[in-house]
Symmetry: D2
Subunit: 135 residues, 4 copies
């Protein structure tokens, strides 16, 4: 079951090529992951204060299919691709919502995130109550 | 009559001080101005193609009152402060929406924007039909 | 006596107008202030760990004269404009270094910074040994 | 033969985790690629005006090993990993320069770039004179 989140393209997101700067899809993907967590009842700031831990990104793989432009309306999806005890892999897509109701795939990727102890900046097992939320 | 637009604070917006990086309020303010224009029926990308012109920022003045943090929900306002034939001044505020329903002023400022011919990158009078939209 | 720091314009700095996104001059200005502090012997990360305090930006005023483009080489200056016990005002400029050796003023502004206690996020007097560095 | 480029970590690069925001390594990597091209005699803005084409990023793969912090001095490398007629793969690393002269690998990745006609936004063969520069 995938989560969907709308993202509008603003000036800040574009570059001199007239399109969305490719690094910014990582931002769009993260907004969707954050809202997914919030939808599941998790606030990352609160989580950090309670558990002393937080998610960090371990690796990212992105493919760019077509460019987005200023004023485009995107829909960013997130779905659990792989769930381990030390890390999760989230598959994500950014699609443009066209005026005729169709969607165009612009960018897709997978993001591996792990859990770290903030004080020690060391990897730890993902808290069980967090893992349960995703089942 | 002021326009209001919600902005959520994500990781991308914060810095190592644990708060929203101050330059990013200019992004938040611009999102609100862009949505205001859209609300009035204007798409900047389309506007550029039709008229060959676009708005550019001429000067900015910002005051930072309190910091925003990750996961904060902000409301950004925009209101016309001064309307000339060559430039407009927009007064803007970013307020945090507190859990108890109150608002806390975080940042306020005024943004002067002018109209330029994109080809020549030279200032021009703001098209009359644009000015009318704001009256 | 002013401090100067070179800044190259990369794709990340530009927007779909083909020019440097105006909010990014705040980044350029801060790089110059940071290198100025480093030149005076101060590392902000170390400073924070030693004193529990850090500089925060209180207000900013920027004027945009001409746009910078991809690959432009800028020189950013910083000079103390006003030195109080609770805040400092730094005057800054971004100039483009032209091929013929001339400089073109692109953006200028003044940035007021204050000192805060990181734990309490409250304003405090700027430590005396810091103030002395600027005299 | 790899190209190396220094990158200093500023406030703008960090996030509320106290470390460099992971998406920003794509910016650091691009600065190094851009300086590599400049070192080979290429200015991308000029290239675009002369040939009507530009490089675009097709896919990116990044692994994050350790975090960078404010004030860290990084060295970013770029080396040709694969050279085709339609796309190039550049292998890149960001290492931290430690006080004792050692280097710590923070992030590594590979970036595939292709050549597009700017007008049509369509892929084209990389101009021969460009390919020769890399041999």
């Amino acid at each position: 079951m995938s989560f969907h989140f709308p993202v509008r393209v603003y000036w800040e997101d574009t570059d001199a090529g007239g399109i969305v700067f490719y690094a910014n899809y990582l931002k769009f993907f993260e907004r969707a992951r954050t809202e997914w967590l919030r939808h599941l009842g998790l606030q990352q700031q609160a989580l950090k204060q309670e558990t002393g831990g937080m998610f960090v990104v371990i690796d990212t793989q992105l493919k760019y299919h077509r460019p987005a432009q200023l004023d485009d309306m995107l829909e960013v999806s997130a779905i659990m691709q792989d769930k381990g005890r030390a890390s999760l892999v989230i598959a994500q897509q950014a699609q443009r919502l066209e005026i005729n109701g169709e969607r165009t795939l612009l960018c897709e990727g997978s993001i591996r995130i792990g859990w770290v102890n903030v004080e020690k900046m060391k990897p730890e097992r993902i808290p069980a109550q967090l893992l349960e939320l995703f089942s």
